[in-house]
Amino acid sequence: MKNDAFSGFHPVVNFIFFVAALGMTMFIQQPVYLLISFISGCAYLLYLQGKKGFFRQVGYLVPILIMMAIMNPVFNHEGITVLWYLPNDNPITLEAICFGLASAVMMGASIVWFNCCNTVFTSDKIIYLFGRVIPALSLLISMTLRFVPRFKNFLQSVVRTQQAMHKPENTKERFQQALAAFSATVSWAMEQSIVSADSMKSRGYGGLGRTAFSIYVFEKRDGITLVLLAVLCAGAAIPHLFGLMRWIYYPSLSGELFGPVQIMAYFCYGGMCNLPLIINKMEDRKWNALRSKI
């Protein structure tokens, strides 16, 4: 993974950005918006994961999306522009094809954004954000995340130990061995849990007025970014709220795509979706400038 400058911003900034990007992708059906979101999401994921990681994470999507785009016109016969008829006399319409494509792009974009979010918005940021509002639950998450790799290691070594004693010869034996290993892990984990609870109590857990420590500091640049994000969001969302971005698929494709207001809104939306990339580019340039001075 590349050193992503946006990840270094305060978790609140990260969180609001992803809520905005995902929310607008999922709730606004305007085709240009969807395209902007899809392309920016892909570009950011490509930046974060590199080519290899990108295709590994979203490669499986391509066939699903194509399927979605094809399935809609096959089953949905709304719309007035009939292109041709299926053998069972059902019509294939242009509107249904467009709608299928839009749905596919919407799904693709939201999944790509979720992938970006998983890379940037790590578990400690989740715990930090929730730690204030729901401290017990966020501790629960933190502890679960701590125990998972530990139990997995134990489980795998139990399996190895069992294999050293007796190599399973068929699926039935393999399943039985896996069950026995799981059972042993449960016993062990239960006993361990008591020590963990003791260790928590011993350090004063359960007293009143627990605070939530974090290593994150809200800097000036976080504030500036947040304001910028809010402005761009408003620029993209307000026209939608006023119905200016209205786009209808059925019965016929209608709505204004490229009026002056719409183009303004596209710029705002594009700016918002590409904010992390812009920040990264600015950071890169700063570094290059610094280096050339030396």
Binding site: Q163, Q192, S196, F213
Partner: protein, 871 residues
């Protein structure tokens, strides 16, 4: 004033007659470094735990404990948390959070210290301990030694007056242990913190200690400076003498008139002085064992690495091991010793080189014996080695091994109630019952006290006498010097030297015993304390173990007789079962899928048949499920708590409201909006109420452990896609810990597994579906509808997985991605989802069938033993 003053403390565990601690009185002064020692089971841990109220075990207590002059019971919890630091034995289970920085701050957070102050204190302690380089890491990336240092540091940030440590180094390798103890010494010297430590690595702590206390059978028999205490032990001829540092042992047996030497260099100087006036007899060379037979297992230039792109772990290892020998392999951490054992055991295959093995059976005893302990008592544990065999067929064999490993008094105990050494022997017995010709041991003496080592060595000796070849990987230089037939040094992926103990250790300067380091300038061949003593003309006192019987009679374990089903239920069950399967076959054939796409009524005239089918299934399930036993019924008595009722009611009220609002204002994506909102509304009350009642530590731990087990459990079944124990675990949680716990574990499991495997719009739906399954299990169990036997649970599990999980997730996929979902789409989603749902349901059924009984037993044990959640 004394930090701690203990006056005539007597303590008895519940339902026991003999007191664990008897009339113990002691004082701990500021700046003391006190070491508490004693044979295993003498009450050391019990005594340490008395010094902090939250850790003190239940039982009858007499006498007084004063902390800074105030009775401990009157010192509030907050002060105790901050001022009395406690480090426990296992480095891993003490760590609660997943990041180093968070763990360091945990205690201060609990005390309600503000962010700025925490930052300062954490920074300071991280620097003192040299943690800053791994401050941002996940705790999983740390080594055992680092973990224990982190535990120490996360207590030191609270700035305690007293630090109490219960065998903190028993799970560490020697280098990490020395490092840890050095840090402890520094804390004592530089920060003036009072330390009370219980430790069996006396060689390292005694030179630092200002006081040494000996506890024996619950009585404090000595409390003095180390030298003073040693005098007491010597006068009493106490067995603890053998655990003392080698120079002290040699000094005491030879009766030198010099001050007692506590370190190797003191001992070395005194020996030099003594040798100037006396003559030493050179230690005779012990004849090395001559192998009579061909090697039973051998490696020839073996290379191994885990992945194609990772570095080699084993680099041209060659070794031979003969029948009837104890071969010890020493070497540092991470050099590949354990990997070599796994190659020898056949689990890993070398990519170059040859392994020859003539043994019929090679078995390995894992480093952590708990990996082999599954059952509820030792007897069943041993019987489980022979699945499907009757007791009388195997009783002789088990009896013989029980006698060999001296388990006769432990047969009815729960394996996890045993001490480390006893668990070790139980696991060893299990391994030996497989009749191995080659036995592989991975650090068997780690964390085990001296008495256990002697017993253990005796067992090994008897095994080698029978011709078993034992290969043991160890850090324990003293043990290997004393008992090995040959020793090898492992370094950088290969065995560097291999020789009989005497020549092996005589040539080393670091990897050698304390006795050799003390005497090697005069007696190059002396390796054990006995060698030095004999060379100086002293006499070694003999220690003999009590004789053991040849065989123990094994009694059969208690049989559980399940209640017989009455005849009418059997008959009714058979009829309804047949009806169900018949209808299932019929309807699945008659189902016209193509009608679905034409918009027709695909269920057609068969609709009513489905109703009959489900009904007959219900009757079938009700007929053959058994009532739970009396004890279980008492546990499940009681009604639904008002809390649960309010939650259910609230969510029911909010949902129609949301739908109405969503339809009115939702706009283009109203379906998704509404469904999202509903999901959140149903889950929110659970979370808020959980949050509102401030769950205690044990509840949090149990819930997170169960969630983590459900997620981690996937790892073992990775070969079987779709087979996940998640649903089964959630259902069992609901049954064992109640509806609310079931919901929390269900929802948290899905949330955290998505943190690890990737969040998506599906997260809330998955949380909701799993949560409801747990909730339902809990509610139905409480109501007495769902029984605690594996049949009812499996049936229930299969049904809810198919109907609820599938029922939520299939329409969810439509609602998530379709702007104008209609019933047809949802139906299509259901139909296409059937195969996946069926596999999921089948997996849940299988898990519950095989796991529900042992698992509920285990959960009950935790509940009963520690009084967790909803008493």
């Amino acid at each position: 004033m004394e930090r701690f003053k203990i006056q005539n403390l007597t303590f008895t565990y519940p339902e026991q007659e003999v007191a664990v601690l008897r009339d113990v009185s002691m004082e701990l002064h500021p700046g003391d470094f006190a070491v508490l020692a004693g044979p295993s089971g003498c009450g050391k841990s019990t005594m340490l735990r008395q010094l902090k109220t939250v850790l003190a075990p239940h039982g009858k207590k007499e006498g007084a404990i004063l902390f800074n002059g105030i009775p401990l019971e009157e010192v509030d919890n907050r002060t105790q948390s901050a001022k009395i630091g406690f480090v426990l034995q296992d480095p891993d289970s003490q760590i609660v959070t997943d990041k180093v920085w968070h763990e360091l701050a945990f205690g201060l957070e609990s005390l309600g210290v503000d962010n700025t102050a925490i930052r300062g204190r954490v920074a300071e302690m991280a620097s003192f301990f040299g943690i800053q380089t791994w401050f941002h890491r996940s705790v999983t990336q740390l080594s055992g030694g680092q973990k224990q240092l982190l535990n120490l540091a996360s207590i030191m940030v609270l700035q305690p007056d007293v630090l109490i440590l219960d065998e903190p180094t028993s799970q560490l390798d020697p280098i990490a242990a020395t490092d840890f103890l050095q840090t402890l010494g520094r804390i004592n010297r530089e920060l003036g913190t009072t330390i009370l430590i219980c430790e069996h690595r006396l060689e390292d702590v005694i030179p630092m200690a200002s006081r040494l206390l000996i506890l024996d059978k619950g009585e404090l028999i000595a409390d003095d400076t180390p030298v003073g205490t040693f005098e007491v032990l010597r006068n009493r001829k106490h067995p603890m003498l053998h655990s003392m540092p080698t120079p002290m042992q040699i000094w005491s047996i030879l009766n030198w008139n010099t001050p007692c030497p506590m370190t190797v260099s003191d001992g070395r100087n005194q020996l030099t002085d003594w040798a100037e006036e006396h003559t030493l007899t050179q230690t005779p060379e012990r004849p090395a064992m001559q192998p009579e037979n061909a090697p039973v297992i051998a490696l020839e230039e073996v290379w191994f690495r885990y992945e194609k792109d990772t570095p080699d772990i084993l680099k041209s290892v060659s070794m031979k091991a003969y029948p009837g020998e104890l071969l010890c392999i020493l070497g540092g951490n991470g050099t590949g010793k354990s990997t070599m054992l796994s190659v020898l055991s056949g689990v890993r295959k070398p990519y170059r080189g040859k392994m020859t093995c003539k043994a019929k059976k090679v078995t390995a005893l894992p480093q952590n014996p708990q990996m082999l302990l599954v059952k509820k008592n030792v007897r069943e544990e041993l019987l489980s080695v022979f699945p499907g065999k009757k007791l009388h067929e195997v009783a002789d064999r088990i009896g013989e091994m029980v006698a060999l490993c001296r388990l006769e008094d432990l047969l009815d105990r729960h394996p996890f109630d045993l001490s480390g050494g006893e668990q070790q022997r139980t696991a060893l017995t299990k391994v030996l019952l497989q009749n191995p010709e080659v036995l592989l041991l991975d650090e068997p003496t780690k964390g085990v006290d001296n008495d256990f080592k002697i017993t253990f060595a005796q067992i090994l000796k008897e095994l080698t006498a029978r011709g078993v070849c034992i290969i043991m990987v160890s850090h324990d230089v003293e043990f290997c010097a004393q008992y090995a037939d040959r020793c090898g040094l492992f370094f950088d992926g290969g065995i560097v030297t291999i020789d009989a103990p005497q020549p092996f250790f005589a040539g080393k300067s670091f990897y050698t015993t304390a006795a050799n380091r003390m005497a090697r300038h005069l007696l190059p061949n002396a390796v054990t304390p006995e060698d030095v003593i004999v060379a100086c003309g002293g006499e070694v006192p003999k220690r003999e173990l009590p004789k053991r019987p040849d065989k123990i009679d094994i009694e059969p374990p208690e049989e559980r007789n399940p209640q017989k089903l009455p005849l009418w239920r059997k008959i009714l069950g058979a009829i309804s079962g047949t009806a169900f399967f018949g209808l299932l076959m019929y309807t699945s054939r008659a189902l016209d899928l193509s009608a679905l796409y034409q918009g027709g009524n695909f269920m057609g005239q068969y609709g009513w048949l489905y109703v009959v089918m489900l009904l007959s299934f219900g009757i079938f399930a009700a007929c053959i499920s058994r009532k739970s036993s009396v004890r279980e019924q008492r546990m499940m008595k009681g009604k639904l708590s008002t809390r649960t009722k309010i939650m259910l009611l609230l969510s029911l009220l909010l949902i129609p409201l949301t739908i109405w609002a969503g339809l009115k204002w939702g706009g283009g994506r109203k379906y998704m909006l509404i469904s999202f909102a509903i999901i959140f509304e149903t889950m929110l009350p659970f979370f808020l109420i959980f949050e509102g009642r401030k769950p205690q530590a044990r509840e949090l731990v149990i819930l997170s452990v169960l969630s983590a087990l459900a997620i981690g459990g996937r790892a073992v079944f990775f070969a079987m896609p779709g087979f996940k124990p998640v649903a089964a675990m959630v259902i069992l949680t609901g049954v064992a810990f109640g509806a609310e716990a079931g919901f929390m574990v269900g929802a948290m499991t899905m949330f955290c597994s998505n943190v690890l495997f990737g969040q998506g719009p599906w997260t809330p739906w998955q949380m909701f579906a799993m949560g409801i399954m747990g909730l339902l299990a809990g509610v139905l169990f409480r109501k007495g509808i769902l029984h605690r036997d594996r049949f009812s649970l499996s049936v229930f599990g299969g049904l809810v997985t198919f109907l609820i999980y599938g029922g939520v997730m299939n329409p969810a996929s439509v609602l998530m991605y379709q702007a104008n979902p209609d019933w047809q789409m949802i139906l299509t989603a259901y139909i296409t989802g059937v195969p996946a749902d069926a596999i999921h349901a089948l997996a849940t059924v299988m898990f519950l069938w095989f796991l529900s009984e042992p698992m509920l037993e285990k959960l009950d044990r935790v509940k009963v033993k520690y009084g967790l959640i909803e008493k």
